[in-house]
């Protein structure tokens, strides 16, 4: 990616001293790896309804586009009552001076039509106020009225991509475990929702313990662990039809912590027999299983590198939980975590540049990231119990479980960006744990 003359807005990698905002000399560009201190002011002008039937959709789509962008922590949406000029014609000219006067750096305009066959057509444009020019071409998305939120997310993904140079992540889903009831008798249901907490749908009933779902690389299947048979076993569920099948045919042991390979055809999982837990791989087509580790220690929580060539996992072979990397077919494992404390739940970034993990040290839990060789470890969070990071499809944001302490303690889903900024709790109606982020939807 060619880095254009950059608007530097923040900390370098979260631990350097703040830099003074430099004079902007080129098109608007935010580098996400530099933690943004001051969100860039933008204006998401109310999308125009091109026919009366589109009025409500236009208002709702505008709100979702703005919420997506503001939710990144990179932008703030300048209030409508500060506008000097209004956008009244999608194809009309832009009064750049009027937007510059209220310090808007980028303007998003849009128009929504509801066609006679009940389809939404959403057009948008993005303008860089400083350079006085459009940032990219106008684009148009269409979809059924029931997918108006997805259309809004796609618009926001485009705006985000054009300003940051990164792929967006708004048109994505999260599978997680809903938790209700008291702490010593929690009822658990597998559920799926949009990345922002909307459109919750349940995938299992609450009759069994369910744990740690993971999306397939195409987002249409989910692996998880269920106690439905009375014992923990791994299952695969088709999201479209909400039908599940056990992958466990070996009844002599308990299996858990399943994850897909990038090809979607191989599954890694943990198997405990006689108190010893090791890693195995299962070929979904043939049913063939291969043991990858063979040690008296605990080996679990595996994650493939995005090219499928390596596996990062946790093991207590050194005496406590640490992170190791080994070839995808098994073989010699190299330890990569060497800091204070214990490391678990490693997850390889979809971009391949970082490994996220849970760290337990001195009575606290942290979500952190490190380079894939273990260097440049950075802790992004700290609390009583943070656990189980999952990557946004663009590898720039993490979601995880944060559990509060005490008899009334319960888990909730939080997100944070990889610079450690923009920590926030997802708005959800119940306690929730074990999030797993889908790929960007097609």
């Amino acid at each position: 990616m060619k880095v254009l003359s950059t608007l530097v807005l923040g900390l370098v990698m979260a631990f350097a001293a703040p830099l003074i905002a430099q004079e902007r000399t080129g098109p608007l560009r935010i580098e996400i790896t530099q933690g943004v201190i001051e969100p860039v002011p933008i204006a998401v002008a109310p999308f125009l309804a091109e026919n009366a039937a589109a009025t409500d959709f236009a208002r709702q789509i505008t709100a979702v586009v703005a919420a997506d962008l503001v939710g990144t922590g990179l932008f703030r949406d300048v209030p409508k009552d500060a506008y000097i000029s209004q956008v009244t014609n999608f194809d009309g000219g832009v009064a750049y001076a009027d937007w510059e006067a209220i310090n808007v750096e980028a303007l998003v305009t849009g128009a929504v039509t509801l066609t006679s066959d009940n389809r939404l057509v959403v057009k948008f444009r993005l303008f860089d106020i400083f350079t006085g020019a459009p940032l990219g071409e106008g684009l148009q998305f269409a979809g059924g009225t029931d997918s108006w939120r997805r259309v809004a997310h796609k618009v926001a993904d485009q705006v985000y991509a054009r300003i940051t140079g990164e792929t967006g992540y708004f048109d994505s889903r999260v599978v997680y475990v809903e938790e209700t009831g008291p702490k010593n008798a929690r009822a658990m249901r597998l559920a799926i929702m949009d990345y922002d907490g909307a459109n919750i749908q349940y995938l299992t009933d609450a009759s069994s313990i369910v744990l740690a779902p993971r999306f397939s690389p195409t987002g249409d299947r989910v692996l998880f662990t269920s106690y439905e048979s009375g014992f923990p076993q791994i299952y695969e569920l088709a999201v479209g039809t909400v039908t599940k099948r056990p992958l466990q045919v070996d009844v002599a042991a308990m299996t858990f912590a399943p994850r897909y390979a990038p090809n979607g055809q191989t599954v890694l999982y943990s198997r405990s027999e006689g108190g010893n837990t090791d890693l195995y791989r299962l070929d979904l087509a043939s049913g063939q299983r291969t043991r990858l580790t063979d040690a008296p220690s605990i080996e679990t929580a595996p994650s493939f590198s995005p090219d499928g060539s390596q596996i990062v996992f946790e093991s207590d072979r050194s005496g406590n939980q640490q992170l190791y990397v080994m070839p995808a077919g098994g073989g010699e494992a190299k330890r990569i975590s060497f800091g204070q404390g214990r490391y678990g739940t490693p997850v390889w970034s979809p971009r391949g540049d970082y490994i996220a993990f849970t760290k337990q040290n001195a009575g606290r839990f942290h979500i952190g990231v490190m380079r894939t060789d273990g260097s440049n470890e950075r802790l992004l969070t700290a609390s009583f119990l943070d656990e189980g990071p999952t990557w946004a499809p663009n590898g720039r944001v993490l979601m995880f479980t944060r559990e509060s302490a005490g008899a009334e303690g319960e888990p909730a889903l939080f997100s944070v960006d990889i610079s450690g900024r923009n920590l926030k709790r997802l708005p959800m109606p119940t306690a929730a744990s074990d999030p797993a982020w889908s790929p960007l939807l097609p």
């Binding site: 002599a252 943990s270 946790e314």
Partner: protein, 172 residues
């Protein structure tokens, strides 16, 4: 720590021999797991009857506790398990499901594995005292089923447990 690892290794070797019964996840296991986490409910009988599961639960003690991140059996735990083994050998109409549990300090996956270690540790000890392997099954609940819900050591120490749940049936 070296000593611990050796102990774990020895436990694992013993357990490989003990867990090869292909039917150990039969219907009895599901019944036991559904019966409620150590309650030994419907079949308990009277605690004054030494052949009753209620006697096992209340007089002998159905559970042993573990130190943080450990699966080794303390002398106190071994004393309880000695009595459990005698009871099981004298009451052959019953089987046992051994549930391993962890406290909430730890990640989900690791605690599942740790609970499996604890359950296996108890299973191997009972076998070493003469209980037939085909009467014992194990399961781990990790940190998903605490019995005490506060977040301090007073509760954690009770949650780091292995519970021997008596079920009807003479073995599988």
């Amino acid at each position: 720590m070296t000593f611990l690892k050796m102990a774990v290794a020895a436990v694992a070797l013993v357990a490989l021999g003990a867990c090869t019964n292909a039917d150990r996840f039969g219907p009895g296991g599901a019944d036991a797991a559904g019966g409620g986490f150590g309650a030994n409910g419907g079949i308990a009988g009277s605690a004054s009857d030494p052949t009753s599961p209620a006697f096992f639960n209340q007089t002998i003690g159905d559970r042993v506790l573990f130190a943080v991140d450990q699966s080794t059996l303390s002398p106190e735990a071994q004393a309880v398990l000695d009595q459990q083994a005698v009871w099981l050998m004298q009451n052959s109409a019953y089987r046992a499901l051994i549930e391993g549990h962890a406290d909430e300090q730890g990640t989900t996956d690791y605690n599942l594995a740790l609970g499996a270690r604890r359950a296996s540790s108890v299973q191997n000890y009972l076998i070493s005292r003469g209980v037939a392997p085909n009467r014992l099954q194990t399961i781990s609940y990790g940190k998903e089923r605490p019995i005490q819900i506060c977040s301090d050591e007073g509760c954690y120490s009770q949650n780091r447990r292995a519970v021997t749940v008596i079920t009807a049936g003479a073995g599988v």
